[in-house]
C-alpha cells in the first residue's frame, strides 16, 4: 500500500493540470479531429465517416492555398519587422547617453501599441487609413499623393497595409523582452571586446546578438505561432477582402464554420493550422531544451 501511494503521489500532484489540459485542450482537439473526418457535422444529424476527404478538399481548394500564402507573407514579414524594430528600439532605450527620465518617457511611448487590444487597433487604423483619413490627409498635404489612396480597399495594397498594422501593434513585445536581455549582458564582455580592438559593429555581431540569441529564437517562434493565428485584426479591418487579398487561414476557417456552416471542412482547416503550429512549437520546445542544457 505504501508503495502504491509513493508511486501515485507524483500523478496526484499533476492530476489537476492533467485534468484541466484534458478538458480544455485534449478533448476539444480530439472532437475537432473527429469532426474533420465526418461529412458535415452539426448541420447533419447523422454524419458519416468520410476519412481524409475533407483534408483533400481543403488542401486542393484555391482559396485555402491563397489564404495559406497570404498567412505566410503576413506572418514572416511581421516576425522579421517585429525583430528589427524591437531590437532597434531596445538598443536605443539601452543607450547610456540617454538620461533615465528620457528613457522612461520613450519607453512609455514605444510600448503604447502593445497596450491596445486588437479591436481598438483595428478601429484606430481603419479610421486613419480611411480614404478620408488622417494618413491620406498628411500625404496629400506634403504633396506625396494627388488623390486618396484606398489602403484597405485596394487589392494591391490591402495585404501590405494589414501587415504594417500588425507590425506596428506587435514590436513592443520584442522591444521589452530584448531590452531586458540587453540589460542582462555583462558590461565586462564589451570592455573585453573593446580592449581586443573590436569596433561597434563587431561588438554588436559577436557579443550582443549571441547573448540575445536564446531570447530572439524564443520570441520569433512564439510570435510566428501567434501571428499565424491572428484573426481579430484581419476580420475587423478587411474581413479577408477586398476579394481575397487578405484572406488568412483564420478568416477562411471562420467563414467555413459560421458563414457556410461547413463545420467538417472548418474542422479540417483548423486541424491543419494546429499541425502547422505544432510543427513550429516542436522547434520551440527543442530550442528551450537546448537552452536549459
Amino acid at each position: 500500500m505504501q508503495k502504491v501511494i509513493r508511486k501515485s503521489t507524483p500523478f496526484l500532484y499533476l492530476s489537476p493540470t492533467i485534468l484541466l489540459l484534458t478538458i480544455l485542450s485534449l478533448i476539444p482537439i480530439a472532437m475537432v479531429f473527429t469532426y474533420s473526418l465526418m461529412d458535415n457535422v452539426v448541420m447533419n444529424r447523422n454524419p458519416v465517416f468520410v476519412g481524409i476527404a475533407n483534408y483533400v478538399e481543403i488542401l486542393t481548394n484555391s482559396v485555402f492555398q491563397q489564404a495559406f500564402s497570404n498567412t505566410m507573407y503576413f506572418t514572416v514579414m511581421s516576425v522579421v519587422f517585429h525583430l528589427i524594430l524591437g531590437l532597434s528600439f531596445a538598443m536605443l532605450l539601452n543607450a547610456r547617453m540617454l538620461s533615465p527620465i528620457v528613457k522612461a518617457f520613450f519607453r512609455t511611448i514605444y510600448i503604447l501599441p502593445w497596450v491596445f487590444t486588437a479591436t481598438i487597433i483595428a478601429i484606430l487604423w481603419r479610421l486613419m487609413l480611411n480614404p478620408n483619413g488622417v494618413v491620406n490627409y498628411l500625404l496629400a498635404t506634403v504633396g506625396l499623393i494627388d488623390s486618396p489612396v484606398e489602403w484597405l480597399s485596394s487589392r494591391q495594397l490591402a495585404l501590405h497595409s494589414v501587415t504594417f498594422i500588425n507590425i506596428w501593434a506587435g514590436y513592443p513585445f520584442y522591444m521589452v523582452s530584448l531590452l531586458a536581455g540587453l540589460q542582462g549582458i555583462p558590461e565586462e564582455l564589451y570592455e573585453a571586446g573593446t580592449i581586443d580592438g573590436a569596433d561597434r559593429r563587431q561588438l554588436f555581431w559577436y557579443i550582443t546578438i549571441p547573448q540575445l540569441k536564446p531570447i530572439i529564437v524564443s520570441l520569433a517562434m512564439l510570435d510566428f505561432i501567434w501571428t499565424m493565428h491572428q484573426f481579430t485584426l484581419i476580420w475587423m479591418t478587411t474581413g479577408g477582402g477586398p476579394i481575397r487579398a487578405t484572406e488568412m487561414l483564420s478568416t477562411y476557417t471562420y467563414k467555413l464554420a459560421f458563414s457556410s456552416y461547413q463545420f467538417s471542412h472548418a474542422s479540417a482547416s483548423a486541424f491543419i493550422i494546429l499541425a502547422l503550429s505544432a510543427f513550429v512549437a516542436l522547434f520551440y520546445v527543442r530550442q528551450q531544451r537546448a537552452t536549459d542544457e
Binding site: 501511494i5 485534468l19 478620408n132 484606398e150 484597405l152 478587411t238 474581413g239 477586398p242
Partner: protein, 426 residues
Amino acid sequence: MNKRVISLFLVLTLLVAAVSGCTIVAPQAAPAAPGDGTVTLEFTQWWEPELPAGAFRALMDEFEAQNPGIKVQLISGPYSTTREQVVAGAAAGTMSDVVGLDGAWVNDFVKQGSLANLSDLMAQAGYDDSELAAQIQLNGATYMIPVVNFVYPVFVNLDLMEAAGISNPPATRSEFAAAAAALVDPANNRYGWVLPLSLEQPNGIQNDVMSWVWASGGSMMADGQPDLTNDAVRSVAEFIKGLYDAGVIAPGAFSMREQDKVEEFVNGRVGMMISSLAHINMIRERNPELNFAITAIPAEDGYTGRRGLPYASWGIGVAANSPHQAEAWKLVEFLMSAETNSRLSSIANAFPGNINSTPDFVQTDELFGAAFEVFQAGYLANEFVGLPVAEELMRLFSEQFQLYLDGSQSLDDALNNAQEAWMAYF
C-alpha cells in the same frame, strides 16, 4: 507524513474545484416547470438591448399577466452573439423555446430540423394568419414570422442636392445617375453615392445592390433557384459599374461596412445612401444640422409597377425541441397582436409585422411618415430571406462583383461565376 496529507488534501480540493467548474459550463436543460404547473419559456433574442431599457421586459410582464401560469425568461445579447448561441443551441438540441431569428438563418435551421412548423401551431391554436404582413415559408410551411421590419429606402442630403442644383430626389435610375454625378466634388471629399462591399459584413449586396433589382420588380431567383444572369440583375450590375467608373461612388467601397456608409452620410461626404430607417434617430443625434429626406429606391426608367423595398426583420420562431410549443405560440401570438405589435414597432422605430398595426411615429414624425408612405406604396422584398447560407451567398456575389467593378473580369464572367458559386448551395 503531515506534508503528504496536506498535499493530498490540496490535490483533492483542486480536483473537486475543477470538476465543479466543469459542471458549471455543462449545457443546461430548459428550465423545469415548477411544482405549481407554471411553465417558464426561454426567449433568446437580440432585441431587448436595442430597445429602451426595460421596454421589452414590460411587454413580457404584460404577457405574463394575461397568461397566468406562463413565465418568460429573456436571454438577451448582441445580434452576433445571439446568432452563435442559436447556432450552438440548434446543433446541441438545446435551443430556447422561442428564438429571435434573422431571415438569413431560417433555411439552415429548418434543414437541421431545429425549428417547429408554425403553420401546424397556428392550426392547432385556430389562429387566423390574415393579419400577418409576411411569413417565411419553406416547403409550404411557415417557420419564421417577421415581428417588426426595418425597411431600406434612399436617404438624400437636401443641402448638397440644392447646392448641386437638383430640386427633386431622383425617382429613376437615370435621374439618380445624373444627381450622383452632379453631387461629386472630389476636391472637397464629396461623392454622390456610397456602396459598402466589405466581405466581413457582406449585406451591402442585399441592401445596396440587389435592392435595385427588387425596386424595379425584378428578381435574382427563378423557380427557387439562383438566376443571376437574367436581364434584371445584369442591368443593375451595369448601372452600378457605370456609377463606379464615373467616380461618383465614395472611395473605399471594397472594405466599407454598413456603419462606415452611415458615417459618410452623417458627415455630409455623400449625397445619397440606401440605409435602414432604424438609422434615422442615430443620424439626427450625430449631426442635428443635417437636412435630409427619404425617398423610394429609384426604379428602371419607364417602370411603373410597385417597387420592392429591401428590409431586415426581427423574426420569431419556436424551437422544435421545446416541450412547451403551445405556450410558445401564445407568446408569438401576443407579439403579433395588433396592439402589442403597434407598441413594439413604435419603440423599435420599425414597421409592424401586423397589417392592422400603426406605429406612433408615423403620425408624429414627418420623416417616418414619408417612409411609411414609401412602405405602403411598395412591397417588402428580400430574396435572401429563406435562402441557404444567405450571408455566404452575399459574400460570394460580392467577390465576383468587386472583380467586375475594378475591371478584372467581364460582366458575363462575374455573373456566371457568381451563379456557379451559388448553385453549389442549392
